[in-house]
Point group: C2
Chain length 131, copies 2
DNA sequence: CGTATAGTTGGACTGTTGTCAAACAATTAG
DNA sequence: CTAATTGTTTGACAACAGTCCAACTATACG
């Protein structure tokens, strides 16, 4: 399992995070990650209406802004929101964005996320079997 | 006193607000408005390190995104944050951005703002005499 | 009226962004 | 080894963004 290069928590810049979240495609990816927890790029980018290479650029933008964490496992790459890092840098920001993006209760989802696999909202978004 | 064209509250788009806030110059303007309340473009754009026409473009970007409200009075234009509109569209978002931008307590400032002129933080940022 | 003030507009320039397509790389499965 | 799968990289391209400068508009002041 390899971790891709990411900015350190203290290097995450507010304007870059806002910039990353200001694209509809990227925001949708972030919403999916918020709802479904860790998932592969393939799942996160399914049916986004853009070419897979475009989606790949968006993954990188999100990673370089410090919004998501990406780790490679075999031939799959798993993305997850850097919730705690973002919360420590910009308290409340991610939750308010997610809630503004239509997620019922960001806090509730987060706690549910930690308790059980949950995934009820998205078809194949459960934490994959890891083979 | 004339009001410039603005998007209606219900037409404010999350991604456009995030986009507007993702530029350092615009974010600085927003921070000034948050600290100083309503102020002229001249005051809001003082010492930003960009040409006045550049600042003017940023004013427009903020206005068109629904972040600020601009009204003309004589030859001056007064800008103010659309706090209530943003709060009703995206609860908590502006406050978390402002607090992430280094404003001590966004909520405290807002309430102080409503009680007294309170310009303590910025030199000439008090609500102007309106002549 | 003429001049100063406050801000906008348009052009030009440079750099960035979002997109697709095609080729590529890395891993896994047969 | 060969095929398929997963995602990245590169190139091309059009659109957009941020900036400055110069000219302009509109209001107010003398």
């Amino acid at each position: 399992m390899r971790l891709l290069p990411h900015p350190a928590t203290e290097d995450i810049q507010l304007t870059e995070v806002l910039r990353a979240l200001s694209d509809p495609v990227r925001l949708e990816i972030v919403v999916r990650l918020a709802l479904g927890g860790e998932m592969t790029c393939g799942v996160a980018g399914d049916d986004l209406g853009v070419h897979k290479s475009t989606a790949s650029h968006h993954y990188r933008a999100l990673r370089e802004a410090g919004v998501v964490l990406t780790k490679q496992e075999g031939r799959l790459k798993y993305m997850s929101l850097r919730r705690d890092d973002l919360e420590s840098c910009f308290p409340g920001l991610l939750d308010s964005v997610l809630s503004a993006a239509g997620i019922p209760s960001a806090a509730a989802i987060r706690s549910a996320d930690l308790q059980s696999p949950s995934a009820a909202a998205i078809p194949s978004a459960d934490v994959p079997a890891r083979r």
